[in-house]
Structures are given as C-alpha cells and as structure tokens.
Symmetry: C2
C-alpha cells in the first residue's frame, strides 16, 4: 500500500518525518510529492527526496494523504493540482491527516465547510472563516479527516491516522483504543476500552 | 508504562524525536534524561525537555531504553551512572534500542562482547574491537537488543523495538510480522508470516 505526502521547501521537519517513518514502519511505501522532482528541505535543514512532481501524481494509487505543516503549505495551497489531489481523498472516503499549517491546503480547496478540525493557532481564524468547526485540541477526528495543531501533538495525530488505515494497525497497550474504534479487531480479540 | 531516553546536547534530532513520539503514540510515558534537568538541543535545533538528571534515574521504573545518536553519545558514554543504567537494561532482559552513535554507550559499558549489532559506519571499527559481531544492516535484533545505523533505518528500528515491548498487541498487515514473532497474538488471530 502507498501513502502520499504533499509538501515543499520549509516544511516543519518533524511533521513530515514522523509520519514518513511511521507509515514506512507499518509497511507503507511513502511517496513525497512537491512542485518538482528532486529534494525539498525543512526549516530545520532535513532533506527529503521528492519522488514525484504534483503533476505526476495519480491520487487513486494512494491509500492515505498526509499534509505536514511549516511554511510549505502556504507555497502549495493555491496549486490547482494540489487541490485536485486533496479533493480526491476528501471525497472518496480515504484518510487524510493534516497538521499545523497543513490544513491550509484544505481551506484553499474549499473542503472544510462544516467539518470539525483543528490546526496551528494562527491558522484558526481563516479556518473558521472558511466554515470549519474549529476546536483547540491535540487531535480532532471527523470521519476520515484527522487534524492536529503542532509537533507535540504528533503522538495523538499518528495514533488516529493509523487507526483509520485499511488493513493496518497498531501496536498498543490495552486501553489504547476508544469505544467505537474503526480498527478491524481479530475474531476473539476483546474490545478495547 | 514508561520509556527512558538517555541523551545530551547535539543529539541527532530525528533519532530522538521519532522514538519519543512513537512510544507516546503507543501509550508510553517517555522520560528524557541527561546530565542535568532542563533542556537539550539537537544538531538540527530541536529542543527537548529533560525531566531527570542521570543521577535521578531509577532504571527499574522503565520498560525500555532508547539510545539515540548524533554527538550526544560521545558526551555521555563514559558517565558511570549512564553505564549503570545501560547495564541494568541489558542484564535484566528489558528491550534496548540503540541507533547510529547510540551504541557507543554500550561499548563503553562493556556490554557488547559477543552480541550481534549494527551502528553508524564510523563506529563499526570500535564496535568490532570491543568484541561485538557487527553487520552492515538496517536493523539487527539480538535477543532484546535492537540496533540500527542511521535515520533512514528508523522505520525498521522502531518496528523491531515495538515488537519487543511488553503488554502490547498488534494489528498489522499480512507479511508484517516474521515467523517467531514475540508479539502476543489474540486468540483466533492467524499467525502472520
């Protein structure tokens, strides 16, 4: 299975790298896409290989979309192909995880009207103005959309993203899963509380 | 359950942050310990809170030890309390994960004789001279000791560390777990290959 990350230079390094490695840990092939092939560099100096330009992405190939934060979302949020990719995931019932400034792309694509979401505090105003239902919480899950505020929220963010992934899961102690978990529990496995 | 990370200034940021967040995702309380309380800073500028000085650590409270890389291990490897903590984990059968330069602490504590391990390439020579059985692989698991070479190995590193953690359960794609997995599979769940 494949995961897609859309970003650009000046991404928030941990918000890209943590999902990037976490999804690989779970067996995903993770593709980073940006304006052009080559490499992008984070605000803290990490370099990440860009396997595909936005124009080369067929979103139907991917099971999950991740939108990291930093200054990158401001640079890509108005790109028509980026918006088209985001629209595919949001309208086809596939999981989308957006953290910090990452939801800006969803705002620009007009995809957050009436959706429960969170984001970095400086993004909250434009998020509300776009019709979203903003809450200041470490993670907000609305259907298949997972949003978080900032790097310290990454554990909750990735926990909820991983719960939504098809056929994948998690390694977790008892009491990890909430009531109504969407995880496929094996026959005979107790319901986690 | 609690996890312990031993480090210092100039840690390799992703090698500390990825396990730090991953273990929190799985429900662990993760304590970073260093020379003194306060904060340490990574080579890429990330700041991490130091909850305990080495002298304040009771290793019996923790279920797993993580030793990230960077320049930090060189600064702490000869500290008697650091070596004592490492010795507790290595001799009591608890999981230890060391990546990149992280294994240097285990070398200085004389804990790698006859053990199968890997590490950053520039550490390989002293590792072999200490009596360890070095292999250039993304991850090497010897009993409860998990070692890796560098940041790009983090997915394999964390996958193997998580497999060794007590009281954890797993839901994962087929072909994720190897034969002989130490994970407790739920009744009725098929053996993963």
């Amino acid at each position: 299975m494949k995961a897609l990350i859309l970003s650009a230079d000046n991404f928030e390094d941990s918000e890209l790298l943590v999902p990037y490695y976490r999804l690989q840990e779970a067996g995903y092939s993770v593709v980073v896409s940006s304006v052009r092939r080559g490499a992008i560099h984070g605000m803290h100096g990490y370099e990440v290989k860009v396997e595909k330009a936005f124009s080369e992405v067929d979103p139907t190939e991917y099971s999950v979309l991740i939108l990291p934060g930093g200054k990158a979302p401001a640079a890509i949020r108005h790109d028509p192909k980026v918006q088209e990719i985001a629209r595919h995931f949001m309208t086809s019932g596939k999981p989308v995880g957006a953290i910090c400034h990452g939801p800006q792309t969803l705002i620009s694509a007009g995809l957050l009207t009436g959706r429960r979401v969170t984001c970095y505090r400086t993004v909250a105003k434009e998020m509300q103005e776009s019709g979203a239902l903003y809450a200041d919480r470490e993670v907000v899950v609305d259907g298949k959309l997972v949003t978080s505020r900032e790097p310290v929220d990454l554990p909750a963010f990735m926990r909820e993203v991983m719960r939504l992934l098809p056929h994948l899961g998690a390694v977790a102690p008892d009491a990890y899963w909430c009531e109504g978990s969407s995880m496929p529990l094996a026959a005979g496995e107790k319901k986690r509380i």
